[in-house]
């Protein structure tokens, strides 16, 4: 939702601001300023700016979200293994932005595969925000990549509210967590453009997880996201995931052909230069 074209006046709030609505009248002696901005106005602004950066360089940005331990880093490792394989037809250049409260462990796991990884340590913050990703982008030469994965902090609550500038959200639901997670965390699962049932190699032992039930819970929250069941361990379902990625990149290229990013404009004060604007040393 933007703050400029009027789409921020929703079915839910329009009654409040129309004549006779609760927000229309103000006590005398006071002045009322109608705003209608998202509470995360600044974050959303930076997120749009990040998205412009990605678009300018034809990079697809994917925000990976899940609870801690659902297998986000393992999924990335398996993805890199497949994409780095010379036999693979979908050669994609990957970079990863890792978000964790502490440690560089996940970034190191990615770097072992020869892939660029930037670690963001959030301290005690339970989510990444657009400003943190913006800072990370200063250390990433986007012209060298086709796809940037942003591995969010493991958390099914807070990351759902913060736009980072990604194009797509992928939410993992691992088999040990139970098939009713979409009903428990509707805000998170509603943001997903793709839901991935991870650790499927455990289905034979954890047979109380029913993938059909997970799908039914997703339908209950009106999610139209496709579902991919896979295992990063035995690589079952990985081909579907890689095909989905390749398709999304094609779609993005097609979109940008129709809607080219003309200039990388800054309509706000900037204290720093971007990598791509700096003179190479």
């Amino acid at each position: 939702m933007c703050d400029t074209c009027g789409c921020n006046i929703t079915h839910g709030n329009k009654g409040l601001i129309q004549p006779g609505g609760k927000l229309h009248k103000t006590e005398s002696g006071r002045e009322a300023v109608t705003v209608l901005h998202s509470l995360l106005h600044e974050n959303d602004h930076t997120a749009r700016h990040n998205r412009d950066h990605f678009d300018y360089h034809n990079v697809l940005a994917i925000n990976l979200m899940s609870s801690p331990g659902a297998g986000k880093t393992s999924l990335l490792e398996a993805t890199i293994q497949i994409l780095n394989d010379d036999a693979n037809q979908n050669q994609l250049r990957i970079a990863v932005i890792e978000g964790d409260l502490e440690t560089e462990n996940d970034a190191e796991r990615i770097r072992k595969h020869g892939v660029t990884a930037i670690q963001i340590t959030t301290g005690s913050a339970c989510h990444l925000d657009a400003h943190m990703v913006h800072e990370a982008l200063h250390n990433l030469d986007l012209s060298q990549f086709d796809i940037v994965f942003i591995e969010n902090v493991g958390n099914l609550v807070c990351p759902a509210s913060f736009d980072l500038g990604q194009h797509l959200n992928v939410t993992l639901l691992s088999v040990p967590e139970g098939d009713d997670k979409p009903a428990k965390y509707p805000v998170m699962f509603r943001t997903a453009d793709l839901v991935m049932i991870s650790k499927c190699d455990l289905l034979p032992v954890l047979d109380d997880f029913d993938p059909e039930k997970a799908e039914a819970y997703l339908h209950d929250i009106a999610s139209t996201a496709p579902i991919i069941a896979l295992s990063s361990k035995d690589h079952s379902g990985m081909d579907v995931w890689i095909e989905w990625l390749a398709h999304q990149i094609e779609e993005r290229v097609r979109y940008l052909e129709k809607h080219p990013v003309q200039v990388h404009d800054h309509d706000h004060h900037h204290e720093h230069m971007h990598n791509d604007e700096e003179t190479p040393a």
Binding site: G12, N13, L16, E31, A32, V35, P182, I221, A222
Partner: protein, 120 residues
């Protein structure tokens, strides 16, 4: 607990609006929160009492309008008021609905008191 981050963002917008309008003080801050916004009204209220301290809004009341959760059915076109984890159409039961209200987290209005201008 991301309500603190959201509240800090809110306070920075409120402070900016007060500055733009030469406000002496802010008397109330009105926000609209939908059940699918990911923001918990009770937590926002608690964090607000901390975040407003020392700002131009330190005495301003936070009014939270809880917005309805409504969907429109893509199959039968009817509208229903629904629950956060059951967004299916109440009329025909189909799951293919679109949200028309309920994921907002918006600053709707800021009420301010202007600085008294000296009479000529």
């Amino acid at each position: 607990m991301h309500e603190l981050a959201i509240c800090q963002s809110l306070m920075s917008q409120v402070t900016e609006i007060a500055r733009e309008h030469d406000a002496q003080s802010v008397t109330s801050v009105i926000v609209g929160i939908g059940p699918l916004s990911g923001v918990e009204a009770r937590l926002l209220k608690n964090t607000y009492s901390i975040a407003r301290a020392g700002t131009v809004a330190e005495n301003a009341e936070l009014v939270i309008e809880c917005l309805p959760l409504r969907v429109s059915c893509t199959q039968c076109n009817s509208e229903s008021e629904v629950l956060p984890n059951k967004l299916t159409c109440k009329q025909c039961g189909d799951w293919r609905t679109t949200l028309i209200s309920g994921d907002e987290m918006m600053l709707l209005k800021v009420e301010i008191e202007k600085q008294m201008k000296s009479e000529k």
